[in-house]
């Protein structure tokens, strides 16, 4: 039995002490979880999506429960990059866990400005660009168009020397095409995936259960979709990948590692059990110990699939 398996993983130049990150929008600014866990134990903390200016977000209802999942249309409410850097980041930095700024904007320029401010702070370890949020764009997203993905990735690549993670959307015909565009644009890693566009109706009132009608579906219900998206992207690009979607346990996380994710993010599970993320770190360690795995990286991309 391996007593102290090596859990550290690399996403380009970004080194994490273990593969477990928190998913943007499901972990607040990190500090909300201090009562429940040791933030120092996490691989990385990805904070709520940040924009140049503070945003109020969408009207209520903003969430709805669905079978083994939930819909949200928070509308990217956030304190804005400046308040984050001055009020939240200093408190968050002291845990020794890399803080990743999840960023978004309405224009490419806004994205770049937020990325630049993140880098200037000196305390942000990487930038994850949410080019795929289904709740704010009226039309199609950057992440639904390869040209747009290429353009925004190139622009961000120029704007910052921080590790650049592009977060992809499942709401596309062929995610491989988008993944290649992000790779070509200079991304260091890809996050696969954001929420699936969904909807629910209250039959009593005949109104949508979300004020915005549609919203993002997350949670275990979408795990099979996320795994498939990851598998497709794995075959399309050579970048380190971050698996996201419905991960509730170390077993779930292992599915993503096996398919080819170097790291994973825990999202909706944080609501169900605020300790989920560290429990998954512990679970991965135990798995490695029990299966005599010296290095968790040796699990990554080991899917055995017979050609059919």
């Amino acid at each position: 039995m391996v007593e102290n398996p090596h859990l550290s993983v690399k996403l380009g130049s970004l080194i994490l002490k273990n593969p477990v990150m928190t998913a943007s929008g499901t972990f607040g600014y990190g500090l909300e979880f201090e009562p429940y866990l040791d933030l120092g134990k996490l691989g990385a903390i990805v904070v709520k999506g940040l924009s140049l200016k503070p945003r109020l977000g969408n009207p209520t209802p903003r969430i709805a429960e669905t079978p083994a999942g939930m819909l949200n249309s928070i509308g990217l409410q956030n304190v804005g990059i400046e308040a984050f850097l001055s009020e939240k980041l200093p408190l968050l930095s002291k845990f020794g866990t890399p803080v990743i700024a999840n960023i978004f904007g309405e224009t490419i320029e806004e994205y770049c400005a937020v990325a630049r401010r993140s880098e200037e702070s000196g305390a942000v370890a990487a930038v994850e660009a949410n080019i795929s949020c289904p709740n704010v764009s009226k039309g199609l997203d950057f992440a639904q168009n390869p040209q747009a993905t290429l353009k925004i990735t190139q622009a961000l690549r120029k704007a910052t020397s921080l590790p650049l993670i592009i977060k992809l959307s499942p709401n596309v015909t062929d995610i491989r095409v988008i993944a290649r565009a992000a790779a070509d644009g200079g991304a260091d890693a890809l996050s696969v995936m954001n929420t699936v566009l969904g909807m629910a109706v209250d039959i009593r009132t005949r109104k949508p259960r979300l004020a915005t009608v549609t919203g993002g579906l997350s949670g275990p219900a979408i795990r099979p979709i996320a795994l498939r998206a990851l598998w497709q992207v794995r075959q399309a690009v050579n970048l380190p990948l971050i698996g996201i979607g419905g991960i509730m346990s170390a077993e779930d996380a292992l599915e993503f590692l096996i398919v080819g994710a170097s790291a994973i993010q825990v999202g909706t599970a944080n609501f169900v059990d605020p300790q989920s993320s560290v429990k998954i770190v512990d679970g991965l360690r135990t798995y490695c110990q029990e299966n005599n795995i010296a290095d968790v990286n040796s699990v990554v991309g080991t899917l055995k699939s017979d050609p059919i």
């Binding site: 909300e32 209520t60 928070i74 409410q77």
Partner: protein
């Protein structure tokens, strides 16, 4: 945090009273706070459910709420079987809940001894009165829940102040079956006025009908302090009354909650923005900044 079901009693209509052994929670929680309860280990339902404390087990009530065994209850959805007997202790907490959907239906079936997964205490407590005052408690339906614990907490912590406050409960519902827990208040010598929309118990009409026109009958009939919980429209009406009465008031709000501790940003309520801000309103988080709010902090 794990707790263990002590009793799960079927009350009037589709209401249940659940006692849970959870010493840590009983010790650290305050009136107005809530827990997020996980009703099953299954992924469906996925999210926890918020419940206010009905009692923190510290109070001692002489006359106990009479659980009735409603095997022939008018509610179809719930078998309405009482499990266990009500035995509060300093180590137990109570939830008064109404069966409205999948989660509460699962709760209604929980057996004595069943382990439950609780997250809490969460949210801001009700501020207790600081001086002897005339207090109105105004409840609608299951909104009665956080008001009992408030009075028990006051009685426990400041027995003298409790004695010197003049407290009255105004309690409304659609029908008689919505009015539960009255004995718990009466046993603390809190008078109870009831209104039901169908007139099946108390005065026919809305609970606010019991309250309008009080200004004319003189200052001494008006409260200094109001605590309210119930349907949104009722609390909005109470907020208007409190402005008329120049009374301070606190409401306990309900709202869909994804997490209960400030992480999902799902549970916002519109709040007046401060003059300094240029925005028409601001959002407050019911789970962290509430669920208890000064009435004027909510854009009703």
């Amino acid at each position: 945090m794990k707790g263990s079901v002590l009793y799960n009693l079927s009350l009037e209509g589709d209401k249940f009273l659940m006692g849970i052994l959870a010493p840590e929670l009983a010790k650290t929680s305050r009136a107005g706070q809530f827990v997020m309860l996980r009703v099953s280990e299954s992924l469906d339902p996925l999210l926890r459910r918020p419940f206010s404390f009905y009692s923190l087990g510290k109070g001692t009530t002489a006359e106990r709420l009479q659980p009735e065994n409603h095997l022939q209850s008018h509610t179809q959805t719930v078998p309405g079987i009482s499990r266990g007997i009500r035995t509060r202790s300093p180590d137990s907490v109570e939830f008064l809940y109404r069966v409205v959907g999948q989660g509460t239906r699962i709760m209604a079936h929980m057996e004595v001894g069943r382990e439950v997964d609780l997250l809490g205490p969460l949210g801001k407590p009700f501020p207790l009165p600081t001086e002897p005052s005339q207090i109105f408690l105004i409840a609608g339906g299951i909104g009665i829940a956080p008001l009992l614990v408030l009075m028990e907490d006051l009685q426990q912590r400041e027995p003298e102040l409790f004695q010197r406050c003049k407290t009255t409960l105004f309690f409304g519902g659609r029908r008689a079956a919505d009015i539960v827990g009255v004995e718990d208040f009466q046993s603390m010598d809190i008078p109870v006025h009831i209104a039901t929309e169908d007139g099946s118990l108390g005065q026919k009409g809305l609970v606010t009908d019991l309250l309008t026109g009080r200004e004319s009958s003189g200052e001494k009939n008006l409260p200094r302090l109001v605590y309210t919980c119930g349907p949104h429209a009722m609390m909005a009406a109470v907020a208007r009354l409190c402005r008329q009465w120049r009374a301070s008031g606190y409401a306990s709000l309900e709202c869909l909650m994804g997490c209960g501790f400030g992480a999902c940003l799902g549970c916002v309520v519109k709040s007046p923005s401060s003059a300094a801000e240029e925005i028409p309103f601001t959002y407050r988080f019911v789970c962290k900044e509430g669920p208890t709010f000064p009435l004027e902090q909510v854009l009703w």
